[in-house]
Symmetry: C2
Subunit: 212 residues, 2 copies
DNA sequence: AATAAGTACGACCGGTCGTTCTTTTTCGTC
DNA sequence: GACGAAAAAGAACGACCGGTCGTACTTATT
């Protein structure tokens, strides 16, 4: 089977466009994103975008999917290289903060920005954001549950509660890093998780000060 | 001294408009807020709004100020009725969650929404939001510091750290209450603070299960 | 009674929005 | 080298955007 170069070109274009859309959406919002602006940024025509997506909403949905892929690559996959348990939880949190600190996206966090933007905008886009957030929450809870199963966290731990608190530290990190002092925000987010895990984990040597 | 009826009428109108603007901004955003939409909602003409504010930006700034007033009335003042110390900290947190749970604003939280919206939009509006968030943070830290001074929290406590964590629980509460299950979100936000304060406070009777 | 100020209106401006249609260019396939 | 589908451009659309204009009504001052 040979690859059709024409389709390949389209696929390549789509990825480039969506990466730009994710970045732009963190600045202008996913609703606030305008096709003319996006086209200008990419140096293509507005109508050229419609060759790939029938409507703005279709592009918005594709943009959410692309952002999920990026999140997978930048935060989740690196964390999976750490051993299961509290070290993996910490690795995930650190990867997230590193992602914010590296300023990969000009507006901070795609999901934080868009979920607040769409929390009162019913429709398919919001539904997809809700879905992504739900899956992220489940993933976090699974990691915490694994740590409990390994005996690295108490057996009677309220797993969703700790997952909630970990995510809260992360959300606040990106918010405060953009509005107030970034370094302070990152430090507090890291310290918050460290404090929390150390108070719970019977084996504190798993949580050294530096990164693993 | 008599009250000028013209000025009184204008002041009344301004308050009505700004209350609507605060509410609308939680749905459409502070940038996404359109003057035509706001005018239609209020049943007035678009140009009538320009009689009170010279530009959209002027109205945005006034809207932020009005939102700060509302936050003062709904969250801060009620909390000040609780005795200083951990009980006041908890009262503040509870007032905030009650505010979210009562769905006073259709889009959740004015500040959460607008701060994420403007984190990459330089200008006077962002500056005012930054200022408001900075003052809120200082207020939170002052409350924590008071609890330390009263001996209700450890003398060596990292005050800004705890303030960060408290605010993080609140932010996440409004985010998750809109995207996922509201009751779970509120419960986790409340439980999070209770766990944290109980672990730190040498006098746990100050933190009964129910509200004061 | 005349004047001035504050409030509010409808009409309209140039510009941008998302979208559609038609046309041209690109490029792998036959 | 001709064919044809995918990609991209260009022009145009109705709607809405923030903003300005002149005007009219209300109310306080003189």
């Amino acid at each position: 089977m040979t690859i059709d170069g024409r389709l390949a070109r389209g696929e390549r274009t789509r990825t480039v466009v969506l990466d730009a859309a994710v970045a732009l959406a963190t600045e202008a919002g996913l609703h606030g994103l305008s096709l003319g602006q996006l086209a200008d940024t990419l140096g293509v025509s507005k109508s050229g975008l419609f060759a790939h997506w029938r409507s703005k909403e279709a592009l918005q949905l594709a943009t959410v999917d692309r952002a999920v892929e990026q999140w997978q690559e930048w935060i989740i996959e690196p964390a999976l290289h750490a051993p299961r348990g509290v070290r993996r939880i910490r690795a995930l949190h650190e990867a997230r903060i590193d992602f914010y600190a590296a300023r990969v996206l000009p507006g901070g966090c795609f999901f934080a920005n868009t979920e607040f933007e769409f929390n009162a905008r019913p429709g398919p886009v919001r539904d997809r954001l809700v879905d992504a957030y739900g899956r992220w929450t489940l993933f976090l809870e699974r990691l915490v549950h694994e740590a409990v199963a390994l005996g690295e966290l108490p057996a009677d731990l309220d797993v969703p509660q700790l997952a909630y608190e970990i995510d809260a530290l992360g959300i606040s990190a990106v918010m405060r890093s953009r509005m107030l002092d970034p370094d302070t925000a990152y430090r507090q987010a890291r310290q918050g998780l460290l404090n929390r895990l150390r108070a719970l984990c019977p084996e504190p040597t798993l949580l050294t000060e530096g990164l693993s």
